[in-house]
Symmetry: C2
Subunit: 195 residues, 2 copies
Amino acid sequence: MDNSIDKLITYLAKMPGLGKRSATRQALALLQKRDQLLAPLADVMREAYDKVKVCEKCGNFDEISPCHICQNPMRDQQVVCVVKDIADLWAMERMGSFKGTYFILGGLLSASGGTTPESLNIPKLKNRIKEDEIKEIIFALPLTIEGKTTQHYISAELGNMVKCSELAHGVPIGGELEFLDDGTLAEALKSRKEV
Amino acid sequence: MDNSIDKLITYLAKMPGLGKRSATRQALALLQKRDQLLAPLADVMREAYDKVKVCEKCGNFDEISPCHICQNPMRDQQVVCVVKDIADLWAMERMGSFKGTYFILGGLLSASGGTTPESLNIPKLKNRIKEDEIKEIIFALPLTIEGKTTQHYISAELGNMVKCSELAHGVPIGGELEFLDDGTLAEALKSRKEV
């Protein structure tokens, strides 16, 4: 593996979703756009490597710690959304209408996967509840066994300190009933609202 | 666009086949594997940028020019496969049983696309035919109008200097007749072989 083209393909193939063949195609495209894409992408990767850190408060990626969200005086520091990982935080931010802050668990309780309550940073969340005088915890965890178990565990731990809520479940906007899973439909029926 | 995370996503989104959303997912994955993937990928991209050049003889990418294929004494310099671009050359090499050398056209004749005979490096190919005493030109061009037109044009130009051949057309290995296009099936019937 001394050739830099082979090395480029090998490392591109480590990116999620890229196999050997698509990595080869990407390498070719990068080499063909060496000045417009290959060089600036290499630079910006190096820059991101040097600058990006993990926010000490919420666990998000940013160039500063605490991150821009945690430092933003326009955001409600007393309302904290609990998410599984950074991808879910970014999904909430993309949506754009949440004006509170976040706490990233970094995983979910799992009997098989070995994630224990200790590895979920619950003490850190407890500290933050006291320090920032948090009023509400909003759970935005996946609707899986692991997500539900985790939410149940954390709300049992914190329920006496702070109000806990979760995202509403129901029929997605634009969703066809016919193609919806039974669990969601049952949940939507149970949580029906008067019109 | 001062934030290095945004810049990383912006440049990743310029890679073929990656939209904004998949670029975001890739950026996250890179940041999460900063030491195993982000840093080495940045390094190897910079290395490829510095080292990879275009072979003066065939047009392939390599760290040396003429490239490893053109310099390899085990390969037949007198048999030249004419391909559209580097991706097609790499496809031939992946196949592995061709022991000649290559010539990359860099495009195909096209009435609409503006590719003219002058931009196809035909004089360069003619020179090579003389210098290397080339005995056979094998066309491995796409079976499109443009590919056929280009092959026709070049073979008319070179036909008196060198033997010209093209890849066989027919039923692909493992191909189901039912799903084969009519043109291929007609070609396979016309080129049928005695068994």
